[in-house]
Amino acid sequence: MKGKSLWSDARSRLRRDPIGMISFVVICGYLLVALLCATHLGFKGYNVVDNSIAYQEPSVVHWFGTDIFGRDVFDRAAHGTITSLTVGFFGAGLSVLIGTILGAVAGYFGGFADELITWFYTTIDTIPYILLVVAFSFVMGPSLTTLCLAIGLTSWIRHCRVVRAEFLKQRERDYVQAAAALGSGNLRRIFVHILPNTFHLILINFTLGFISAVKSEVILTYLGLGVKPGTPSWGAMISDARLELSRDVWWGLAAATIFMFFLVLAFTLFNDALRDALDPKLKSR
């Protein structure tokens, strides 16, 4: 089947791509850090309060110094990974899920369903993203869940368009017609035959959405619509620099920015590598 050979082909191409592999390793590294933090096996200094050493400069003991409550900034930045990975995964995941379902229905069934869905996403697309997310956050109150939901519910359009186009293209193809002739119902045709051919799009758009979600978390936290106070997050550390920078406390901003930098960069490079592996005609490098 067309699907399988694409994947094994892609995998071997990916393996031969050094940058792609390195970025994959880096991403796994972040997952490991998040795991260590979540199970409290590592980076334990993140909530050790000691008001006597508040706002200390970076030192051998505290690589990125301490924050307002004397907590180790490096460890807090490490814990911020959990927040960002959660927001990225669920935010992008939700958006890709919605986009896929709606795109599939629109592209496959066409007609009224297509018109309705197209109308719907054109409408949402016309509204500026930031205002949409703000409205959602207000209804649901700021929290991690809200952040994931808000990002997920507002960024599915791009993916939906792509999936819809793909389904439109695929439904007339021979193999689909053949499946119909053999008695496959609509659902089977959608899920078993066409959908697998869009997995590469899902993967690519998932990683793109992940990056966008991580960056959105920072901006939303800055606007006061982020996670609960006390939860370590890169957005909170960067936003707090509003107060800290003019008193020359730069280490919170630096730690969060550096942690975020490598994650976003790794995802970006990995996304490129995926693209190349899945569709060599599109040589972006």
Partner: protein, 586 residues
């Protein structure tokens, strides 16, 4: 090609920076506000930023003496202090003759007309009119004869605005008689507030809902222009009736140079500029560069500015010629516990446990840089009834005792106590304070759930009594502890200012009694009794009484601000030569 573009861009940027110089006149005072100015209508003076700007444009019958302490009320537009009847219920004010409103297009030939007593009645009626939606009515509420009836009739539609109010009479153009229902010892204080300021009816009739953008008053300054979201500029009012700088003050004023301009005509400065800068960083940096003339001291810049003794500035600021000014603030920061909450309201031992577990000293250092003292009760330093030796037994930081009382409350070790909701706003500092609170109660096994909102949502939750505990502050509107105790008076519960919904019959009775007494030892005794009831029932955890720190540039003269006073920019002077010279160096 890329390099060429970059070079061009850098050149353009450099060019822009070369031409960047200040265009504000030197003989001006610029101050940066922590929030945006919403309106210039004195009816909205409950907003402290509106209240910073408007009193320079709008004046009232009375004001505070600039230099004398404790604060003393003196005439502003009134001609001498009023004559009071023996029973204290009738106050006869004489209005100064020849006071004119500023020139404005609302007057027939653009020339400001003379102020008459009827103008005061009009202005005060406007505050009482529910359609104005002013939150200033409390200054007259229930105090002036007939005003409540007038207000209710007007709201129902059975009365007209022009209907007379029994307690506000103007027998002639320069006499205003105020008749009270019962003795009101804070009357003169409230008449210094912008709510009681005088405005011409022509302005309100002409501008209607847009009056908030076109204030007209009798003050030393008038509105020049307002770039919303950026700055408000006031310029000298040539029509002003004139005042002179005070010739006496309190001990130490002469040495401090505060009497150097005694007797000279005011105002000294041609222009006032109020920048609207909510973010701490640009507010601080603009001060350091001399783009504003004086400013507050954000908590995060404090350590870099002030030495450990909390009185001396650090060398790098002294080098710039900057001075520090500290004023008592007569306020209180507290954690309010909703008395109508089923868990907290009935359980005084739970409240005591929370208070005993909250260590105020580190929070005083962390969030206020030790600029203040730990608060024991609602009475702040400097006011009647304040006792520096008074210790609130529940303000002692004692985890063991806290655990003991928690058990007495029925929740040993925190078991069985559902998570308590802490309501807060979502600024970076509020978030940090919320985290601190969580850390304080954690050792007791008490879980705190933080709910962060925008300010309107925050006040809405309080108003609808949905919040369990929340942090808030209150600064007195005038130097009388009554203004603090009214926050604990039962009938003032939400939606009123009593945000903890405290309703203790004994407290309420004593409070009402205190209103009937003039300032004096008898009243002070009652205030202390009220304080004792408060301490016993503990609807709040009092945390801090703050001090007001300002930093001023070397060229700002005659600065003696008190947070209760407003409209005192007219006394400030700028040493223009010094300013020109120093700004080059900054």
């Amino acid at each position: 090609m890329a390099q060429r573009i970059l070079v061009l861009f850098a050149l353009a940027a450099a060019l822009a920076s070369c031409t960047h110089r200040s265009r504000t006149p030197l003989n001006s005072i610029a101050y940066s506000l922590k929030s945006n100015v919403k309106s210039l209508d004195p009816a909205q003076a409950g907003d402290e930023y509106v209240n910073e700007v408007v009193p320079n444009i709008v004046e009232g019958l009375l004001q505070y003496h600039y230099l004398k302490r404790p604060l003393e009320v003196i005439p502003q537009l009134a001609d001498g202090m009023p004559k009071v009847s023996k029973d204290g219920l009738t106050h006869t004010f004489k209005i100064k003759k020849g006071v004119r409103f500023q020139d404005s297009e609302v007057f027939p030939d653009g020339k400001g007309r003379e102020v008459v007593a009827a103008d005061f009645i009009y202005s005060w009626k406007r505050i009482a009119d529910t359609r104005t939606k002013s939150d200033g009515f409390w200054i007259f509420d229930g105090k002036i004869k007939g005003i409540n009836e007038w207000r209710d009739k007007l709201a129902k539609g059975t009365g007209k605005f022009e209907d007379p109010i029994e307690g506000l009479v103007a027998p002639d153009d320069h006499t205003l008689i105020v008749k009270l229902n019962k003795p009101y010892f804070q009357l003169y204080y409230v008449l210094t507030q912008a709510y009681a300021g005088v405005i011409p009816h022509e302005a309100v009739e002409k501008y209607g809902a847009e009056f908030l953008n076109h204030p007209v008053g009798t003050g030393p300054y008038k509105l020049d222009h307002w770039i919303r979201g950026n700055k408000v500029i006031l310029s000298r009012n040539p029509n002003w009736h004139g005042e002179t700088y005070p010739t006496e003050g309190e001990k130490g004023d002469l040495e401090a140079g505060l009497l150097a301009d005694a007797g000279k005509p005011l105002p000294f400065v041609d222009q006032l500029i109020f920048y609207e800068i909510p973010e701490d960083q640009p507010r601080w940096l603009t001060m350091m560069k001399g783009a504003v003339d004086f400013s507050d001291l954000p908590k995060d810049n404090y350590d870099g500015a002030v030495e450990k003794d909390a009185k001396t500035l650090k060398p790098q600021l002294v080098k710039k010629g900057i001075r520090l000014f500290i004023a008592p603030n007569a306020d209180i920061v507290y954690i309010s516990m909703n008395q109508e909450d089923p868990i907290l309201g009935k359980n005084v031992n739970l409240r005591r446990a929370l208070a005993l577990a909250y260590n105020t000293v580190p929070s005083l250092e962390k969030f206020y840089n030790n600029r203040g003292i730990v608060a024991q009760s609602p009475i702040p330093p400097g006011l009647d009834g304040y006792d520096p030796n008074f210790k609130n037994p529940w303000k002692e930081f004692n985890l063991e005792k806290a655990k003991e009382y928690l058990a007495k409350a029925g929740y040993p070790g925190g078991k069985g106590l559902p998570p308590i909701e802490y309501s807060t706003t979502s600024s970076s500092t509020s978030n940090q304070m919320a985290e601190y609170l969580e850390q304080q109660f954690a050792p007791l096994g008490i879980k705190i759930v933080v709910v962060a909102n925008s300010w309107p949502q925050f006040t809405d939750r309080i108003r609808t009594k949905k919040s369990q505990i929340f942090g808030i502050a209150w600064r007195v509107d005038y130097p009388d502890p009554q203004n603090m105790f009214q926050l604990l008076y039962g009938p003032n519960s939400s939606p009123g200012p009593n945000n903890s919904n405290f309703n203790n019959p004994e407290f309420n009775k004593l409070y009402e009694e205190s209103l009937t007494l003039p300032p004096g030892p008898a009243r002070t005794k009652i205030y202390q009794k009220l304080r004792d009831i408060f301490v016993d029932q503990l609807p709040w955890i009092p945390t801090v009484h703050r001090l007001d720190y300002r930093i001023l540039h070397s060229w700002v003269k005659n600065y003696k601000h008190n947070p209760i006073m407003h409209g005192d920019y007219k006394y400030m002077r700028v040493d223009v030569d010094n300013k020109r010279e120093m700004k080059e160096k900054l």
